[in-house]
């Protein structure tokens, strides 16, 4: 088990930056009182961020991933979270072997 000094500094830098992003919202929220369209925009943050993270994998990787993502989305409204993940993983394995 070895630990490189530069690697350690890089890890600490990533950790500090990440913690900063995690607590920054705490200080912004105090000044945010939202109504109407602004509230709709703020409420849209969760799905907007989640979708943006996975969109490249789901849409532009290949047909197997795109179709599997569509099947997963259909399952997501009918199954609990773990069932949804299982459907998605099985779908992508089957489709990658077919396509």
């Amino acid at each position: 088990m070895t630990l490189d000094t530069t690697t350690l500094i890089a890890i600490l830098a990533m950790a500090v930056v990440t913690y900063f992003t995690r607590i920054a919202g705490l200080f912004v929220a105090d000044r945010l009182v939202l109504t109407g369209r602004a509230k709709a925009a703020f409420d849209a943050i969760p799905p907007a961020v989640l979708v943006a993270v996975i969109a490249p994998t789901a849409l532009t990787t290949g047909w197997a991933e795109a179709i599997a993502a569509a099947i997963t989305a259909v399952a997501a409204f009918r199954l609990p979270l773990l069932g949804t993940v299982a459907v998605g993983v099985v779908a992508v394995v089957v489709l990658r072997n077919l396509i």
Partner: protein, 236 residues
């Protein structure tokens, strides 16, 4: 069980709810952690370095991006900037969640060390019905943090013995998990418009410009779309 008062919140019940909600996420994150550790080891990181990074950074997206571009010696400023870009979404998530958590300021500062996409999405879903307590949050946080740190360390030790993760579809677990979480926000017109705009812009930006710009641009497009799609006179 207290059938007459199903909405009374006790620490014990909140811990149970937190564990129940995070269980499928932890199971889905397990292969991702193993995958991360294996990839990091292949790039020359030691198991100790992998463990430290997972324990201290605790942000899968940023860690995968860092490993993707990992060279030795590590480019500290480049890694810090990429981490800032990828994790900038935490600012929005923290701002959105803060009015819904029932914790003191000091507790929240500690609690938000464990802020992840998953814990946050589950908390937002729970906040639709009741406030997010410290018992609920820390039950989720500790499980997810231990799960991520251990699985990535084990992945680094096992290294190349794992084989090709694509063969067993493990690489898609993250995507399927997020689709499941998004579905939890319902299918109102505003939500559907948000999802469509975010997906389209993120995919296009990733294709033509590249990571990690797709996260911020897709998220902003979705938020702007929601603003425009919502009725002007809507009341909160």
């Amino acid at each position: 069980m207290d059938q007459a008062n199903p909405f009374v919140s006790t620490p014990r019940r909140d811990i149970q709810a937190g564990l129940r909600d995070i269980a499928p996420v932890a199971v889905a994150a397990l292969p991702i952690g193993l995958l991360f550790g294996a990839v990091a080891a292949a790039k020359g990181m030691t198991p100790l370095e992998v463990m430290l990074m997972s324990a201290l950074v605790f942000a899968g997206g940023a860690q995968f991006a860092a490993i993707e571009t990992w060279i030795s010696p590590a480019p500290i400023l480049t890694l810090a900037f990429a981490t800032l870009l990828i994790n900038a979404r935490h600012v929005l998530m923290g701002a959105s969640l803060t009015p819904k958590v029932r914790m003191s300021r000091v507790q929240t500062l500690l609690a938000y060390f464990f802020l992840t996409d998953e814990a946050w999405a589950l908390s937002e879903r729970r906040a639709l019905e009741r406030p997010v307590t410290g018992a609920y949050w820390f039950a989720m946080a500790v499980v997810l943090w231990a799960n991520w740190t251990l699985s990535s360390t084990i992945g680094a030790i096992l290294g190349s013995f794992l084989g090709d993760p694509e063969r067993i579809g493990a690489d898609f677990a993250f995507t399927a998990l997020f689709i499941g979480l998004v579905a939890g926000f319902g299918k109102s017109r505003v939500t559907l418009v948000t999802v469509a705009a975010s997906a389209a812009v993120a995919a296009l930006v990733h294709y033509f410009i590249g990571a990690p710009w797709h996260v911020a641009s897709g998220a902003l497009a979705g938020i702007a779309a929601a603003y425009l799609a919502a009725p002007e006179e809507a009341r909160s």
